[in-house]
Symmetry: C2
Subunit: 209 residues, 2 copies
Amino acid sequence: MEKYPSFLLENAINEFAKLPGIGRKTALRLVFHSLKRTTKEVENFGRAIIALRNEINYCKVCYNICDNEICDICSNTSRDISLICVVENIKEVMAIENTKQFHGLYHVLGGVISPMEGIGPGDLQIKSLIERVKNGKVREIILALSTTMEGDTTNFYIYRKISNINSVKISTLARGVSIGDEIEYTDEITLGKSILNRIDFSKTIVLQH
Amino acid sequence: MEKYPSFLLENAINEFAKLPGIGRKTALRLVFHSLKRTTKEVENFGRAIIALRNEINYCKVCYNICDNEICDICSNTSRDISLICVVENIKEVMAIENTKQFHGLYHVLGGVISPMEGIGPGDLQIKSLIERVKNGKVREIILALSTTMEGDTTNFYIYRKISNINSVKISTLARGVSIGDEIEYTDEITLGKSILNRIDFSKTIVLQH
């Protein structure tokens, strides 16, 4: 462990080094960079991170991150409120929004069921999803979780809790060969599913327009 | 540019992305990490960086970073006050301190003369170095700047300003083949200098003890 000539310096290096992917060498570089910036710039930086943690809101409907009580997506009256896409985190919301192909609402679980990490159904926004399905005019739920063991477990848990409510339709993302992928290098499970769930070619022509 | 659902989120991502070596993807990851930490942890982080910038002191004698008026090295009475090692930054102070071979004091310039970056002698702690040489009991100055064009320029500038004061001796770091380096792969200039400045072999035996 190196000896630093100042407690403030050492403390700042330690704090930077706590961030994921940042070692002590990088932390030292970031600290020297901070010393070269103006007081105002460094205060803006520090306060932005503190404000993020202290003042961030979660939408009361879909639990997405937002600045108000209800997020922009849920309060957008032109969106289809009968369609809910269930995702793990805000990152997936942003990814799906970027496709511009989805015009329903979201429900952000805040993770997936993972006994290894001690995350049970009670730690996720599953109860609130069930309430939305019970109270709302929901016609279809799209499960858009990762295709991992944890994602599959969470999918199945939600399916069991929701399938008997109000005859709601439960769907999931299509799995198949990615656009641009070579068939030769596609993994067996994906390729197998893409054959089982093959689609009418005339439909793909329509989709491309 | 991606659209974020929250101003606080976007602001925090922008602030992280201003740091050197951190792009928007990494900034997003750091922001999500911050959201998972406790309020206390994030406040400690933000405040440590702000405090570093606002409260950091520079030693009134050598201009090294420190918490008090005078740094631990300058206030250590067992060190040789007649020997001053001139360095660019605190990083070099730490590197030289780690060798445990130097027992004099330092003088931290805060950079090197670089007309390209608009850094002149007036932006560095050169005047204060001249004052130290004039007023103090300095016997020798060791110039330990980088062997770059800017470092050489700064060395020469300091040499011209100091060489006629109080018959002070001005030395510089030995240049030569690094320990563990193969002669075959050593660059020509270094190898040439190591031949010109060759040393008595019997002296190296004494040094190793």
